[in-house]
Amino acid sequence: MSTFEFLLQGLVIAAQPMNLFYALIGVTLGTAVGVLPGIGPALTVALLLPVTYQLDPAGSLIMFAGIYYGGMYGGSTTSILLNTPGESASIVTALEGNKMARAGRGGPALATAAIGSFVAGLLATIGLAFIAPFIVKLALVFGPREYFALMVLAFVTVSSAFGDSTLRGLTALFIGLALSTIGIDQLTGQTRLAFGVPDLLDGIEVTTLAVAMFAIGETLFIAAQGVKGPDKVEAVKGSVWMNRADWARSWKPWLRGTVIGFPIGAMPAGGAEIGTFLSYAAEKRLSKHPEEFGHGAIEGVAGPEAANNASAAGTLVPLLTLGLPTTATAAIMLAGFQQYGLQPGPLLFATNPQLVWGLIASLLIANFMLLVLNLPLIGLWVRLLTIPKPWLYAGILLFATLGTIGANPSVFELGMLLAFGILGYVMRVFGYPIAPVVVGLILGPLAEQQLRRALAISQGDFSVLFTSPIAAGLLIVAALALIVPLILRARGRGEVLSQMAANED
């Protein structure tokens, strides 16, 4: 049977009324937990494993697929409305999305996130069905040195993309990098900068830092402004729906986000966040309205949200073809497979095609259901912004605290949340961008470990970093990204500036 026939057969299985019902339960639950910080899709699937034990394999996997995709959707909602990223992959969404929401454009922000997620989810799932075996071969070519080169590229593009001042952006990035060295060094097992505090042994949790810097810092900032602050957030200005210009500015970022997110998600050490960073940096560079970035540019929501969902589908590539879970949720889905005596891996497509194609088909259906479920809710969500400010921010505080305790029940974690909240407040007061801190915390350990692994494998020979064609290519792109703007600037600031002025029609 051809791939296409398998997929059709899968759709028939997934479209059975009972399975549609499971998919509905899955996406509803997934959206709910995605909205709540602290209760991630991984924990939800883990809690449901004993329940689904009674179901047939197809039904339970379809439910898991719904939860998985739903969680990705839900995370963007809180990011946009409350500036509280529920999981690390939606941090970038908060940057532009929340600015849009505060300018009364929460509706279009949520809509471009939802539709972008749908488009990316759809394309990436189809990609999963047809090119998974090829993608996985490509992903395996990526060893430590290639990953390190990818990280260098991410650093270069990201540090220039966030904030207006390069110096301030780099300062914030290095705070993040410093924080990322805390904890047990993965390669030697030795502790660094933990000062004997057991809670610091595993380093600083990304979501704790993100929620603290974004939500708590913001709340303090608003509170410190007192009554002088901007009077009222307009909940809805213009239509709740995307207008023609929004569509025109969104569709390319959706496609680019998918193309960036899917392969990076499929890499065993890729992860969803890197794709969102790279997509944000790319959109800022390619946008016709770069001046809007930092003040609510719709491209900055559309691209990263698409990248985020495309990488969610990408994650399933190594899971299904290699039996290699690259996220916590994928690890639990693997446990779910094993519950039925199925071993994901190179043989799964051959031994259990119905199940694999049923799963892929149900991902398509879950994706469609999410759009149907989420678009009508947008009108309801944006109403959240009409809540009087003191209530809203009190709610955000409660919500952020609850989420942190929910994820890690420890007093120390709560203390860190407050301490980083104060740091976020201070940085805001002095005009430093917040996002590079979080980026540094995420990318720092990855870059460090991959570099050290590469050097350990080569026994200290630095030339390996450049001898692989992929690594060398990525490093050249990174170098160009760094040097070209410098040259342009050196060749006459006036020329560039006048060009920009001319473009402003």
């Binding site: 709910a32 709540l36 991984a42 924990l43 883990a46 494993l49 004993p50 809180t78 992903a139 395996l140 070519v141 060893g143 430590p144 047990i184 060094d185 993965q186 390669l187 030697t188 097992g189 030795q190 502790t191 057991p198 809670d199 042994l201 595993d202 065993p268 050490a269 190594p318 290699l322 039996g323 290699l324 879970p325 690259t326 916590a328 949720t329 690890a331 639990i332 446990a335 094993q338 519950q339 039925y340 071993q343 994901p344 891996g345 190179p346 043989l347 799964l348 959240l384 809540i387 709610g395 409660l398 919500f399 609850l402 929910g406 029940p409 420890s410 692994r453 350990a456 494998i457 026994q459």
Partner: protein, 314 residues
């Protein structure tokens, strides 16, 4: 508002079962890992066999389980219905992290499962046998890079033991730690490292499909269905298993301890548990009472020795 209502509903729903709970089971790791899976399998089996009406699993991730262990020892003291899952990785983590709370501060009940380590190479590798591996190690230990799980974990320990048994200085081994057997697998398949070492389950489907070659396994007997020798058969005096255990709270009376032990005994002989072992590919290595305590003490001192040999513990 909706959020808050939802949150409090969820919080309420999570708190409610606490009244009816017979056992509270801590998995000192994030959802998804081996300990979490063990805890959740125990939960299912305990409930289905009617040994306990309601079992609650809590995840306290961090630092090889030592964070969960510390929290467990201080908060559950004297409570006869509290259990924690742990294992060999925890023994190593306590030593390398110099953790203030050790397994002496809880009441070990029984060893439940074991998993053999597998030593694999990519199908295209020139190494065909353990003898080839030993020869390469002897020639230049640094040129053989080992890909496995976290530093100081059972994979690292096994690599150190193999080097030592082969007469190679264990501090010279070039061990590349990955965040887990899965990430290591990608590096092995991509021929980024020379040898892979991790739990057999991590590699099983790759071995069966022929993309990885199994050189040896680390248990006392061969894994059924595989042709690779044990390390002992291949001439290296190494036997190591990644085992998992269950422990109760500190400060229990002898009767309380006996009651928990009896429940666990009932569990391991149950049909549900035996089925679970089969589907998960875990070996039944049930050991309890004085025999387990003696074995645990032996494992701890042996681990300390090898971690010192590798140079991770001073």
């Amino acid at each position: 508002m909706k959020h808050i209502i939802l949150a409090s509903l969820l919080a309420g729903a999570m708190a409610l079962p606490a009244y009816a709970t017979d056992y509270t089971l801590m998995a000192p790791a994030a959802p998804g890992g081996g300990w979490d899976q063990t805890a959740r399998s125990l939960q299912t089996a305990l409930q289905q066999e009617g040994i306990s009406k309601n079992v609650q699993v809590i995840n306290v991730p961090g630092a090889g389980g030592t964070i969960g262990l510390a929290q467990f020892a201080s908060q559950q003291k004297g409570k006869a219905n509290a259990l924690i899952v742990g294992g060999y990785v925890m023994v190593g983590a306590i030593l390398t992290n110099k953790a203030p709370v050790t397994l002496k501060d809880v009441t070990p009940i029984a060893r439940l499962t074991g998993e053999n380590e597998a030593i694999v190479v990519p199908a295209s590798s020139p190494l065909k046998s353990v003898a080839d591996l030993v020869a390469a190690l002897k020639k230049d230990p640094g040129s053989v890079s080992w890909g496995g799980g976290s530093a100081g974990g059972v994979d690292h320990i096994a690599a150190g033991l193999i080097a030592k048994a082969a007469g190679v200085d264990p501090t010279k081994i070039n061990y590349i730690a990955f965040s887990g057997g899965g990430e290591a697998l990608a590096a092995i398949l991509g021929s980024q490292v020379t040898v892979g070492i991790s739990g057999y389950g991590e590699f099983e489907s790759q071995i069966k499909s022929g993309t990885l070659r199994l050189l040896a396994t680390s248990g006392d007997t061969r894994i059924p269905g595989t042709e690779a020798p044990t390390l002992k058969e291949a001439g290296l005096d190494v036997s190591v298993q990644n085992w998992r255990m269950v422990a109760a709270a500190p400060g229990l009376t002898a009767e309380q301890k006996a009651a928990v032990t009896a429940d666990v005994q009932k569990l391991v002989t149950s049909k549900t548990w035996q089925e679970t072992l089969k589907t998960k590919g875990w070996q039944d290595t049930y050991l309890s009472g004085a025999a387990f305590e003696a074995q645990l003490a032996k494992d701890i001192s042996a681990t300390e020795t090898i971690l010192k040999d590798i140079g991770l513990v001073k």
